[in-house]
């Protein structure tokens, strides 16, 4: 872990470059957001009443794989996110500084986002979060049925994210978790359709396609999932052939869930950009561009669906960043191992009917603030979550 690199002057030179990055980070994110000064001068909206609008829905879109400023909101990165820049940010409240102080592994970090507490388990272990998830708070607090909250998760390990381990919250209130890649694998096993040409969508096919946490009350049986989603196996596999990535498959499944259940709380995690671990910068950029496009598509899905239009808030955030080019113990964009500020600091945007448009929030926020914010937004208690509600989006 230790590096023998560096030395006085040359280290200072590299540190200077890194510091310039840090200093300008906030300013270029502000410029990226294109927010008017007026929105800051006029202050925050008043806290809304405890009773929320009837039928309010929330979508949380996270992306694992980590995205750095350099490839996103920095001037040189903005070409990779035209949809976020031109379509979404003008409609959004944009939080420029969201700091993740936990373990920078994708499953454990996403689980921490979902619990509002920094989970400490082995990122690669098949374990449920220790702390209650936002899905459990939501269902128990508002008395919602299982089909009113769904999680679409990208890859191995995430199957346990829907419900905590039961030590701090009564079991039975978790979310159903769909793993689209294995859903496709399962569909292929039931049809004569050849899997040839679909391998690129099936990279983690040891997952279960649907993970229903123990004791979650619902009527969804594994074998009936396709039927409930009103998908024929042939249609599903045929449509899969038109997709170019696993994340696109996730968005396709999300669309089916919205049509069939119109869940009030929907959590989707995209993961294509984690290809960065292969060290191929071009593939990492491709992943970012695809995620950018899918973010806009999801917002369009919301806006075009009568069940969602005008009553849905979407929160978009990466789970964390990636290592700085200047961390001696890292290898730049490839990993997120150093825990340096760039790998810990990211952003969040919120869009919706009750969200102020075209404004920025520059104060530092914590990744853990997400759950408390969702609770305040949807009017349920999150007693064991550690973060604070982000008042600027309430």
């Amino acid at each position: 872990m230790m590096s023998s690199y560096s030395g006085s002057t040359r280290t200072e030179c590299l540190q200077q470059i890194a510091q310039q990055r840090a200093i300008t980070r906030r300013s270029f994110l502000r410029s990226a957001a294109m927010a008017g000064t007026a929105s800051r001068l006029f202050g925050f909206a008043p806290l809304r009443a405890a009773a929320l609008p009837r039928g309010q829905k929330t979508v949380v879109l996270t992306f694992g794989g980590g995205a750095r400023d350099e490839e996103t909101f920095a001037p040189e990165g903005q070409e990779n996110i035209p949809h976020l820049m031109n379509e979404l940010i003008p409609q959004a409240t944009f939080c420029t500084q969201v700091v993740n102080r936990g373990i920078l592994g994708h499953y454990v970090a996403t689980a921490s986002l979902a619990t509002g507490a920094y989970e400490q388990f082995d990122n690669f272990a098949d374990v449920a979060p220790k702390n209650p998830t936002v899905f459990e708070y939501f269902r128990k607090g508002l008395g919602r049925p299982a089909n009113d909250v769904w999680v679409i998760a990208p890859s191995n390990g995430f199957n346990r994210i829907g419900q905590s381990d039961g030590t701090r919250f009564p079991p039975g209130f978790g979310a159903q978790v769909i793993l689209p890649k294995h859903l496709l694998a399962s569909a292929l096993s039931k049809t004569a359709t050849s899997s040839a040409g679909l391998d690129f969508l099936l990279q983690d096919n040891y997952e279960d396609p649907l993970f229903t946490p123990p004791a979650v009350q619902n009527n969804v049986k594994l074998s009936r999932l396709m039927e409930i989603l009103h998908l024929s196996v042939d249609d599903f596999t045929h449509h899969a052939k038109t997709l170019s990535s696993a994340d696109e498959l996730s968005v396709y499944v999300m669309r089916q869930l919205m049509r069939q259940f119109a869940p009030s709380l929907l959590w989707i995690t995209l993961h294509d950009m984690d290809i960065a671990h292969s060290g191929a910068y071009s593939l990492y950029l491709e992943g970012i561009r695809r995620t950018d496009r899918l973010c806009a598509e999801i917002w369009q899905m919301i806006e075009n669906d009568p069940e969602y239009k005008g009553r849905t808030t979407i929160l978009i955030l990466p789970d964390f960043g990636r290592d700085s080019d200047f961390s001696a113990s890292g290898n730049g964009f490839q990993h997120h191992r150093t825990g340096d500020p760039l790998s810990r600091t990211t952003w969040m945007m919120a869009l919706g009917p009750n969200i102020r448009q075209n404004r920025t929030v520059d104060r530092p926020l914590d990744s853990l603030d997400l759950v408390a914010t969702l609770g305040a937004m949807m009017n349920f208690a999150t007693p064991l979550a550690k973060g604070k509600p982000i008042v600027e989006v309430l």
Binding site: M1, Y5, G7, Q334
Partner: protein
């Protein structure tokens, strides 16, 4: 076991030179906190096939620590000593398997929210070492030459935009004979300044024939190591299948197994003389992510590790195209040399790889005098970073790489 319990016989299974080094420095090692001792033992256990620059650094460090008085030594160690370790960590055979200890330590530091503290402490320690040890600057300025774009056509995105603010961008290079000119310059440096593992050639494809004829040039290439990478995957499959039969293999177990592979395991044959290179090649393939499947990642990572460990006077790194993307299972199973190539993606990878190579060269001693050149092979674009050349300038005048090399000197 506690570090104070170390004895000469504790290192009986270490290779001979590493064993001698550990025994000769037992007094220092016994006083070090385990969290710092472990990475040092990782260096000692591979001392027999370390590069000269690595050996020199390790010896300087041990010498520095040995000369410190008791109070200074304890003060230097105390930031490490106060980081608590779990009993499970302490019980690991950290003498016999320092690599395994480091892997477990990393996971532990993350889980205990101590990783940032550890990095900060390690950086301060490193800074202190450098201030105290005063390593000799290289006899001549280092040169790194990166060639990108072999087999690729120009792309829409501008190349070298991260490097340009630090150097001069040449837009009208005559590409004819460019590669020969660069290799001649490398050859000349290797002849004039002979140094063991001091001059390197790393290629993402088949090495240029002229490079093979250069005496004193250490060579490695992706094409020559691709079969070793496939052998590594086969062994990994065997290991995980065996482990699955006896209980699933965890990430740490797999990492430890991979780290234990030797040149012989990967069918990398050589002589005792080139053992450091063979072991370095194994390290590249077993510790680098993606460099087994993508030649662009291979060149970037190998260049990074070469600069970091061998600290060469000359590095010539040449990127080629990599195979097109595919599902990981296919990438791990198929022959990377027989696949369709991603030309545009490879050029983008190489452009970033060149930037990282410059950063890594800049981390070395005497970086202020270093020279760096990157050229789009077969085309007229190059960027040169050297003290005699202005930074952030664009030269549109027709010229040759030979002239650019002269201006950089």
């Amino acid at each position: 076991m506690h570090p104070r319990d170390l004895r000469a016989e504790t290192f009986a299974k270490y290779p001979p030179q590493g064993r001698s080094l550990a025994t000769a420095n037992l007094r220092v090692l016994k006083r070090m906190p385990l969290i710092l001792l472990s990475p040092m033992l990782r260096q000692i256990v591979r001392y027999d096939w370390s590069f000269p620059a690595e050996r020199e650094q390790l010896l300087l460090q041990l010498k520095f620590l040995d000369r410190l008085d008791g109070a200074s030594f304890d003060a230097l160690m105390s930031p490490f000593s106060v980081i608590p370790l779990s009993s499970q960590l302490i019980e690991i055979d950290w003498v016999g398997h320092p690599q395994r200890f480091s892997e477990q330590l990393t996971a532990y530091l993350w889980s205990e929210n101590q990783i940032d503290n550890y990095h900060k402490t390690a950086q301060e320690y490193q800074q202190r070492l450098q201030e105290a040890s005063h390593p000799e600057p290289p006899a001549v300025p280092r040169w790194t030459i990166v060639v990108v774009g072999r087999g690729s056509q120009p792309i829409e995105q501008p190349l070298f935009r991260r490097l340009m603010p630090r150097g001069t961008l040449f837009t009208q290079i005559d590409p004819a004979g460019g590669l020969d000119a660069l290799l001649e310059a490398v050859s000349l440096r290797a002849q004039r300044h002979p140094l063991e593992y001091g001059h390197w050639y790393i290629d993402g494809g088949e090495p240029h024939p002229a490079a093979a004829a250069v005496p004193g040039l250490t060579m490695m290439s992706y094409n020559r190591l691709a079969s070793a990478a496939r052998r590594e995957f086969a062994l990994l499959n065997q290991f995980t299948n065996r482990a699955d039969r006896g209980g699933a293999a965890g990430v740490e177990e797999v990492s430890s197994y991979i780290a234990s592979l030797s040149p012989e395991d990967l069918d990398l044959k050589g002589t005792l003389v080139d053992a450091p290179l063979r072991n370095f090649e194994v390290n590249i393939l077993t510790q680098g992510a993606g460099c087994q499947i993508y030649s662009t990642t291979f060149v970037q990572w190998a260049s990074r590790e070469c600069l970091h460990r061998a600290q060469p006077l000359t590095l010539f790194a040449r990127f080629a195209t990599r195979q097109s993307s595919a599902p990981m299972e296919q990438l791990l199973a198929r022959d990377p040399l027989m696949q369709p190539q991603d030309q545009a993606g490879s050029l983008i990878d190489a452009d970033m790889g060149a930037y990282y190579t410059w950063i890594n060269q800049s981390r070395l001693e005497d970086a202020e005098r270093s020279r760096f050149l990157v050229w789009f092979e077969g085309h007229g674009l190059a960027c040169a970073i050297a003290p005699p050349l202005p930074a952030g300038k664009i030269s549109t005048a027709p010229t040759t790489l030979r002239r650019v090399l002269d201006w950089m000197a």
